[in-house]
Structure formats: structure tokens, C-alpha cells
């Protein structure tokens, strides 16, 4: 029963925002000590258990070094960024033409998800793409259609721009075989004596990726309807030519 303390340490550590590496190490030591705990245990036996846990952790860390091999990809991505990869992506996104907010965010969603599935997770992101480009473009699409935006709808559109980026990234990246989450799964299973290839894992990320595209696509369609209901000018205003 006591070994469950280790799980508690992980949960608590992440809640209080301690350094996650420290949390993981503390959880491992807690689990190892709790497993060795008996009412008769003395300091000597607990010390032996702590050393054994550190050694077991070290062995597992050494056996799962391949999990961190993914970062080699950064050398190639960095060279491309040096040559303007993100700038090029920005130019490409800025050329998108879409009549409505929902369609614009839908196209961005597909591009972002597809790029993430090919390992290009850095093509996007809130600081690089959403704030400078996607959110203003989405607001612009709504303004062209409906005129000046009330705050409520403006912030709704901005929130949806960030949401599209997150959801497309999360449910695209696992299709790429060399992403940290896929190798974490491989490493965890291998520690439990089950050997799987990254490809076997990433293939099974595809059904969820399609589900995410369908569900969020429907949400964006509903967003367009909601904006139209809230913002469409009454017929009188149209005749007076409020819009340029």
C-alpha cells in the first residue's frame, strides 16, 4: 500500500510546480523506500534501499537513452530556421484567403496538423504564428464581413485562434515517429518488458487525428454561425450602407 506514495509525490510535485525532474527523482526514491519499509526497518536498511533505487533508476535511464535521441532533429530544424523557415511559413499563412473566420481557422488547423505530423512542430505556436498572424487575420476576416467587432466577439475569435493552434498540434504531432511522447511510450513499455516500434505507436495516433479534425471542424462551422447570428447587420443598416 505504501508504494502508492510515489504516485502521490508525482501528483503533488506537479501541482506545486516544483522542477519536474526533481519531482520524478523524489517519486522514484519515495517508491523505492516505501517498498522496503517495514516496521522493523532501521536506517541501515533504508540506506541500502535508497542506493538500490538510485541504481535501478540509473540502469533504466541508461537503457532508455534512445528516448532523447529525438533532439538530434533540432540540428536540422535549426539550420532551416536560420535560412528563414518560420518567415516562409508566415508568408505562406499570410497568403491564405478565406471568407469567414471558421474557414480561415479551419485551413490553418489542417496546415498546422499536417506540418506537425511530418515533424515540423515549430511551424506555428502562439508567439511565432498566432499572435502576429492568425489572430489578426481571423479578426480581419470578421471585420470585412461584419464591420467593427464588439469586444466579446473579438476576444472569442482570438481565443479560437489559440485553440486551433493547440488542438492541431496535439493531435498531429504523435503521427510523427520521432516525437517525445511516442518515445516515452516506447521507453515505458520497454521497461515493462514489452518491445514496440515507434511506427506501431504513431500509426494508432491517426484515427484520433481524424476525429480531432472532424470535431474541431464542426466547432469552427458552429463558430461561423454564432458570429453571423451575433453580428449580421439588420437589413435597414445594410441599405444605409454602413459598410464601405
Amino acid at each position: 500500500m505504501l508504494v502508492l506514495l510515489g504516485i502521490g509525490v508525482v501528483v503533488l510535485g506537479f501541482i506545486v510546480r516544483a522542477n519536474p525532474l526533481l519531482v520524478v527523482m523524489a517519486a522514484a526514491l519515495t517508491t523505492g523506500l516505501a517498498a522496503a519499509w517495514t516496521p522493523e526497518a532501521d536506517l541501515q536498511s533504508l540506506y541500502v534501499a535508497a542506493i538500490a533505487t538510485i541504481a535501478a533508476f540509473g540502469k533504466a535511464f541508461n537503457d532508455s537513452r534512445y528516448v532523447s535521441v529525438v533532439w538530434l532533429v533540432l540540428a536540422a530544424i535549426g539550420l532551416l530556421e536560420r535560412a528563414g523557415l518560420q518567415e516562409r511559413a508566415r508568408i505562406a499563412i499570410a497568403q491564405l484567403r478565406a471568407v469567414t473566420v471558421g474557414r480561415l481557422l479551419g485551413v490553418y488547423f489542417i496546415v498546422r496538423q499536417g506540418a506537425a505530423a511530418l515533424g515540423l512542430t515549430s511551424l506555428g505556436g502562439h508567439a511565432q504564428m498566432v499572435r502576429p498572424l492568425v489572430a489578426p487575420m481571423a479578426e480581419g476576416a470578421a471585420e470585412t464581413k461584419f464591420g467593427a467587432l464588439p469586444d466579446r466577439e473579438r476576444f472569442l475569435i482570438r481565443s479560437h485562434a489559440a485553440a486551433a493552434d493547440n488542438i492541431a498540434l496535439f493531435f498531429g504531432e504523435d503521427i510523427f515517429i520521432a516525437i517525445a511522447s511516442i518515445l516515452l511510450i516506447k521507453g515505458f513499455l520497454e521497461q515493462n518488458g514489452i518491445v514496440v516500434e515507434p511506427l506501431e505507436l504513431s500509426v494508432w495516433a491517426m484515427p484520433t487525428a481524424i476525429a480531432a479534425l472532424l470535431i474541431h471542424g464542426a466547432r469552427l462551422w458552429l463558430l461561423d454561425r454564432r458570429l453571423k447570428r451575433a453580428l449580421a447587420p439588420p437589413p435597414v443598416a445594410q441599405e444605409q450602407g454602413v459598410q464601405p
Binding site: I7, F14, A56, F57, A76, L201, W204
Partner: protein, 320 residues
Amino acid sequence: MITLAHVYIVGGLFFAAVSILSLRDGANPRRVRNFAFWGLLAVSFLAGQFLGDLGNGVLVLGLVALAALGLGQGRPETTSPEQRRASAERRGNLLFLPALIIPAVALAGTMAAKQTQWGPLLIDPAQATLVSLVLGVLIALGVLMLWLRPPLVAPLQEGRRLLDSVGWAVILPQMLASLGAVFLAAGVGEQVGAVFAQYIPLDSRTVAVAAYCIGMALFTIIMGNAFAAFPVMTAAVGLPFVVGEFGGDPARVCAIGMLAGFCGTLMTPMAANFNVVPANLLELPDRNAALNGVIRAQIPTAIPLLLANIVLMRLLAFPA
């Protein structure tokens, strides 16, 4: 034949180069810590097999201590925003192409190693994807060096720039995978199983799948990190019940289980990078609320998608 051992040498040399370049980076006040952190990682990759279990454990303690003290952000020489824009204009969409080399080689290499006669001579079939991935990176680097003609040290410096921006989180997945081994040795899975058996009747595939997926999402909401929830929930419910008792395929169960966790990430202010940072960047008026605009925009997608994951796992993960 190229094996995982060669992959570790390539990785070790990369981290060693990053370590040395970090030490020489005068713009980073914490350069000694960065040097030590990447250096220890290089030692692990190049010589981990000679250190012994306790030696590796002490090495990990060193990495954790450095991470807890805090690493700095290196400032390698790179191109200016103007140069990048000019290069992007000049080279056009061709820039996207080299990035495709990596997944293409990884896929082709895996296929070749498993399904051709000559493939295994080149690539160890047991680790085909990892070996092919590193080959893909090396080929992409070769193409980029010939095409872009940057200084020779550029791939290392650019790699260091991005590694420093990820920081200590680089080894978090490896640490969590190792935590799984400690959980296994202590019998955490069996213990949680005993608790569950007392309170929740995990007596059918559907209930077990739902408990695992919803548990992944809930733990992720609490901790703000699906990676941290994964070893906990998988040791507790995923492996003992969905896989062990009901015969689920481990690869499919875990792949979909992780994505169920990502549904939790969409709903929690604890995942600050994804949900709070954009609310600040976009200057949302409710950015400090627990459920800010971004999270409220995501919840109506996250919940149906979590249900979709439960259905998908139930339908796909029991092939027999």
C-alpha cells in the same frame, strides 16, 4: 550494420559539441551549468554502458541537481530577422522540402530493414525506426549544408540554440520512462489494481478502457502534463487491466491513452505554455481566470474527443 550503439555515438557527439560550445558562450551567465548539463548527457550517451547502474544513477542525480539550480539560455551566432526574411523570399517554398527528408528516410529505412533482403545488412531491424531517423537527420544535414552553405559549425550552434530553449525538459520523457521501471519493481501497478478492485468494478473491457482514458485526462488536468500522467495511469490501470486482464494490444492502448491525456491538457490552466501564455499574448481580458477564453474555446472539442478516444480504443485495441 548500423545499430543503436552507433546512434548513441552520434547523439553523444552532438551533446558533447553543444556542451563545449556552451562553455565558450560569453553571453550566457550560466554557461558553466549548461556546459555541465549537456556534458553529463554526452557522457551518458558515449559511455553509459561502462558506468554501471549506480554510476548512471549518480549521473542522473547530477543532471537533476543542475536542472533544479536552473540552466541559462545560450546566445549562439545566428542570422538576423532581416537576413531570414530575405532568404525566405529568395528560396520560397523550397525551404519546406528538406524537412520532409527526415520522415521520408525514417519511413523508407524502416520498411527496407523489415521487408527487404538487403535492408538488414544496413540497418538493425530491431531498432529500424530509430536508426533510420538518425540517418534521415544526417542526410538532411548534408543536403542543407550543400544547399545553404552556412558556416561549418552552424548545425551545432543552431541545435544548441533550440536545445537551450527546451532546456532541462529535454530529458523529462527519458526520466518518466525510467520512473516506470521503479514503479514496476515496487509493484505499484498491482497495488493500485487492488485499490481499484475494491471500489470500482473493472469487470469489462469498456469499463476498463473508460477508466484508463478518463483517468489519463483527469490526472493531466491536475498535473498539467500528460507525460507525467502517463507512467502513473498506465502502471495503475492501462497495463494491469486494459492490457493484462482484458487482452488489449499494448501499442494501441498506450498510443490512444496518451492522446486521451492530451484532451486533459486542453482543459487545464496548469498547462501554462499552451493555455495561459497565449491568453496573455492575445491580451484576453479574462487571462487570469482559471477557465480563460482559450480553455473555454477548447473544452467543447476536448470532451467529445475524449469520448472518441474511448470509443476508438474499445474498437481498435482488442484485435483478437
